[in-house]
Symmetry: C3
Subunit: 207 residues, 3 copies
């Protein structure tokens, strides 16, 4: 229940960030709806395809797709206001990352998969929406060279699995994971925590 409400807030916020990316590439309304939907529900879609977990969420619940399309089109009308709400979006995105991660981890658990694959399932759900957005809009994916993002997803998923393993109550586990994941993400934005990065010159290649 808690997760469902947070999920709908999460896909709405992600759809809006997708629509803004589409706007920077001057797309029409269809493009805006496509990028908004890919950003918001692309992570869960990729996860379900990789795990063979059919039917996809938005095929079973078309209302999710309707929400993301509407959120995308509304964004085109209120873009300047939304951009001024930047601070709120960073918070919603942090929350969405953890919510998507928990939902993805749960799918892995329900399918009886190996814990490592459950973490991958959470990671894909949390991170691939943004990756798809940046691929379609032809930007080098932000998630690959910015503050901790994927790592937060891996940590949140591992924490969640560990607490469940030690029989902690599922509601407590969910709330604790949400709080710790959110705080870690906001701290990494605030203090610019990053993973070590890897840089080669163009000439250095083995192809």
């Amino acid at each position: 229940m808690l997760l469902s409400v947070l999920y709908i807030i999460g896909i709405t916020a992600e759809a809006m960030t997708g629509a803004l990316s589409a706007g920077r590439r001057t797309m029409d309304w269809f493009g805006v709806m496509l990028v908004a939907s890919a950003t918001a529900i692309g992570g869960g879609t990729v996860r379900d395809i990789l795990l063979g977990h059919y039917p996809l969420g938005w095929v079973k619940h078309p209302e999710f797709l309707v929400i993301t399309c509407i959120a995308g089109v509304i964004t085109t009308g209120f873009a300047r206001w939304i951009i001024q709400l930047k601070g709120i979006f960073i918070r919603l995105d942090a929350l969405g990352l953890v919510v998507f991660t928990i939902i993805g981890t749960n799918v892995g658990i329900e399918m009886g998969l190996h814990p490592f694959i459950c973490v991958v399932s959470g990671l894909v759900t949390g991170v691939f929406g943004g990756l798809l957005r940046d691929l379609i809009c032809r930007q080098t994916p932000l998630v690959l060279h910015h503050e901790l993002y994927a790592s937060i997803s891996v940590m949140a998923s591992s924490l969640y699995l560990t607490m469940l393993y030690f029989n902690v109550d599922i509601l407590v586990t969910t709330v604790v994971t949400l709080i710790i994941g959110y705080i870690l993400r906001m701290a990494s934005v605030r203090f610019k925590w990053r993973l070590p990065s890897f840089k080669l010159e163009n000439g250095e290649t083995i192809h």
Copy 2:
């Protein structure tokens, strides 16, 4: 039967447009066949993967894949002639769009999906081939910022579903959808009908 014949004409024409895109990126024959096939049968493939509708069309009917590969390679030899047939290709592409849309909508109906998802199924079938072509060839997808294209697919699919809902004969429904969809597409090319587009400056971002 009518749809099968039109489908084969459609994938041949789409394969040829894909091959021309590959040529503008100087690809070899394998690249040409890959882009040709992705353009022609990529939409149906993405649809079937999203809906979990296995086996894929070209796995069951390998001849479709053979046709697109041959059409692609033939295009490399006759590119200059084909380019002069531009007017014919715009017509074939318009027809293909509606044919693919109807086929995709039918898949949704057969799987007993929600009408909204049937429309999405038709849309993905009609539009994603061209999207894949532009992604592989690293162009900003045409479908996202040009004349009405995706919208025609949505309108055709909705018309088709509405007529079937009111028990209109399936052959009549198919022919009427083909004619109206084709006319709408050609009119939008002729009169440059477009969806409202959405443009932001690069600095306007919330990331």
Copy 3:
């Protein structure tokens, strides 16, 4: 058994080439692991999704994914040494291409698919990892305009199927395919064998 050992060598080598590509785009460790994994196991993943062959290899054997992630991160520390081993990598990549092709062809055979689709299955397994790497790193895919690569995969797969058709022993078939495929690939690198390529000027378009 032979194929399993060669497979693990193959995914390790491919993961390392993926990590080097990520380094040329200055990605963080997560990006490195993502590109490394996509390069190494992306071909098999795309094949399994296209054929509806679930569960995916790395979902059933998470250790494969662990290997590619570790190989990717190790590469970041030893990049300069690895680059000097260029000659070894070209050999490992040639071997990997044939190994992946045989494994993919076998999946098609086990699923009872048409021989042409078995060849496509081998081709996708052999070639799509590199394609995904180049798409994520936003390079025009090497496989589409360099020495014979995809063609080697098609030839190896066809040879393999033909020998099995004539009831040659499976071990003999595998070893012969490996040797001939490897020699053909190394010869095409050495003598710069290429497929005819197809080039159009930018203005020549039918869109």
